[in-house]
């Protein structure tokens, strides 16, 4: 069975392809300027996609993950899993 972490990574990779970013970027890659280069609108789009796919997302609960790994860690938090 796929974990929420795995589903989240699939959503992120799907988003990166759609946004014409490096879909093979490592999980420690920065989401922003020196890494994937997401701007505020792209971050909002990623946030919405994660919420659509997983029911919640770290950005809309006030967290500001800096890397793909930090997004994935959010989905291992029991509070996120239960929301």
């Amino acid at each position: 069975m796929e974990t929420r972490r795995t589903l989240a990574e699939q959503s992120i990779r799907k988003f990166l392809v759609r946004a014409n970013k490096d879909a093979d970027a490592g999980v420690e890659t920065s989401l922003f300027a020196d890494g994937l280069g997401l701007d505020s609108l792209e971050t909002a789009e990623l946030s919405a996609l994660l919420e659509d796919d997983l029911g919640t997302d770290p950005f809309s609960v006030g967290e500001l993950p800096q890397t793909i790994a930090e997004i994935l860690d959010f989905y291992e938090d029991p509070a996120a899993v239960s929301s």
Binding site: D39, S40, L41, T43, A44, E45, A48, F59, S60
Partner: protein, 277 residues
Amino acid sequence: MTTEDYDPAAHYDRVTEAWGLLLGDELHYGVFETGDEPLSVATGELTSRMIAAAELAPGLRMLDVGCGSGAPACRLVEDHGVSVLGITTSEVGIEKATARAAGLGIAGATFEKRDGTDNGLPDESFDRAWALESSHLMPDRKALVSECARVLRPGGRFVLCDIIRRREIPFLELRDRREEFAVLRSAYGAARMDPLEHYAQLAEAAGLEVDRADDLTTETLPTFGRWQANLDQHRSRVTELLGTESTDTFERSLGILDAFWRDGTLGYGLMSARKPA
């Protein structure tokens, strides 16, 4: 169209023709003093305000950052006796601008492919630096302003006008309105808007003295109605040039921009600053 068929110059011509039909000959916003005047009068008024802020005089050496296809630069040379170096990162833009100047027999306007945020020009080599609606497409705003300050001679002037952000947009609001912002990005490119005060702060930090920061949001609001009227008038030709999807996106953008102007999210500003002598 296949990749092999793609001709950047022809594409540039089509887009330029379409934008000319939609936005008018000057390809920028208008400043409406009464609200009833034609778009051409209003765009001329914005240019006039930039010229007044620049305090142009014959013989001055001017840098036009984001020169487009060179029309403003040629006009400034012809009407004000300045010499202009126009810079843009678009190779096609340089070709078109150079051809325009040659066709008009204007020797005082030259064009080079350079990045406004790292222009590579000598220190203190210009009397004026000018950025008309080009800054929102340059993400490194600080570098743009500091580069303009660097190349100005003491006593020189920097003038800029552009779309501005008039308030903070909270993340959740941005998320809720992401489709509206995505339409704007699709229609106008990956722009980022800053408050007028931010431009002023960058200018001060670069050693300039800001002497004008005008919020022109109210005066530019009628622009969208005029662009819509132009679209209504030229819809078939614009659709032929841009395609149905891009034309529809442009039309949707007009309602979004009008709403953003009215609700205080976005607007328009003009700033000028002087380099101390």
